[in-house]
Symmetry: C2
Subunit: 274 residues, 2 copies
């Protein structure tokens, strides 16, 4: 049984002249699939559409939705990860785009191993990456396919480190290589502004909303490394890991388990309500 | 007759889980093929290897060379463009890399239309692009697959404009969307430093060497827009266009034909000598 749909057809390959391959000219989304439900589907698709508008990619949302439905129904109730890649499709040589060219959709589903319980119970070790994130406001926030910075940052981690923190080229703290960061300070949440680089995560968006609803102040602003070092707690989040407490970062120990558990609870509640 | 080799086999598709598609995790080169010869082959392959080292991609150069030989021999003597894409191959989910994973090589050859003679005889109109190039020293100079900035810049050109000039996020002049820039001032050449962003073009490298050999001073430095506006002549260059004189840029007329013709002559001479 194949688990990949390419423009609605079961297939495992794409044409070599796809612009996603040639230029990273496209977008992606990674959804958690649980009990047959695609968690935070509308939020993911809203981000995808923001990205498509930014990149001027003409995406057929009805077809996209039908393909997500088909693959998730076929998969059944086991926990899985559903990945959607949208590219500007095939083209001849050169960067020039045809605004009428149809996008190519690649949807695939795969089992996802449970993360070790210790990550949630005791926390993770977070590396401080040397790879800087370039400041690129036009591409900030959206989940495009130009991900060499994340690949290079991820390659810096040692075997004992589960995630790495990236700074922008001016030294401001931005995000993890595959997750967003929250700091806790004096019972308030703080998370880096993502107006110049970084991916605006769906879990991050949900956590901000749920914290505010619970009467907790949330600040989005430039965050310095010194502020991270002085935080009361740190946790990393995305749609699949939910929220990982940080136990160790840059030579300091943190006690982040309770706050990460709270964020995880918010994600669970919001996911059930959706 | 197929004109695409993927890891040495004639084929037209790649697996959907290729990391070039997923993350732009790879490199490319575009060679001019003329009379059965791959122009500046060694220089292109040297840049490719610099890129592969920077990205920690394990590339089989013997296989790469054999595939370039096979496709160019099959093509014959017509003028063509040979494109080589190298990706980190397939992998499971996530940014993590396997340093032992073999790269995937995609080599394809296609006819290339002659550019209009007027471009060389009268010059082109150069746009001033609003899309900034992010400052990313780790990725500067090499020809990687993260090219969304070039795609967005190219999309800014009107039908009358043949190329666009890109500035970095601090406002320094860097390059064209698919070519490098030279300024002529007081019989000296000036070209932007590419230590923080931009692609170090092969034609650029050859022009610098040939100019120096001809006793002409060449400066590589930060270049301001004001310096461009005050230049005596401007030309754009890459392996396929060779050198295009700029006739019009940002409201000013330039008389660049003689200098571009000279650069083109240098490329021709160096290509024959190689």
């Amino acid at each position: 049984m194949s688990h990949t749909l390419i423009n609605g057809q079961f297939a495992d390959t794409i044409p070599f002249d796809d612009r996603g391959l040639a230029y990273g000219d496209g977008l992606f989304e990674t959804f958690a699939l649980q009990g047959g439900n695609i968690l935070f589907r509308e939020r993911h698709l809203a981000r995808l559409q923001r990205g498509a508008r930014r990149l001027m990619i003409d995406l057929d949302m009805a077809a996209t939705n039908a393909e997500l439905d088909l693959l998730s129904a076929q998969w059944g109730s086991d926990r899985a990860v559903l990945k959607l890649i949208v590219t500007r499709g095939s083209s001849g040589r050169g960067y020039g785009i045809d605004p009428l060219a149809p996008a190519r959709r690649i949807v695939t589903v795969a089992t996802v191993a449970d993360y070790p319980a210790s990550y949630y119970r005791s926390g993770i070790e977070l590396a401080l990456c040397q790879t800087p994130l370039a400041i690129a406001p036009l591409l900030a926030g959206i989940k495009h396919l130009n991900r060499l910075e994340q690949v290079l940052a991820r390659a810096e981690l040692t075997a004992r480190q589960q995630e790495g923190l990236l700074l922008d080229s001016e030294g401001w703290v931005v995000e993890g290589s595959f997750s967003n960061l929250f700091l806790v300070k004096d019972h308030c949440l703080l998370t880096p502004l993502l107006d110049r680089c970084g991916v605006a995560g769906i879990a991050r968006e949900v956590i901000i909303e749920q914290a505010l609803a619970a009467g907790i102040a949330v600040l989005q602003q430039r965050v310095s490394l010194a502020e991270v070092m002085e935080a009361d707690a740190l946790f990393m989040n995305n749609s699949l890991i939910e929220a990982w407490p940080v136990r160790q970062f840059n030579g300091r120990q943190f006690d982040s388990v309770a706050w990460a558990a709270r964020a995880r609870q918010w994600l669970l509640m919001a996911g059930e309500a959706a």
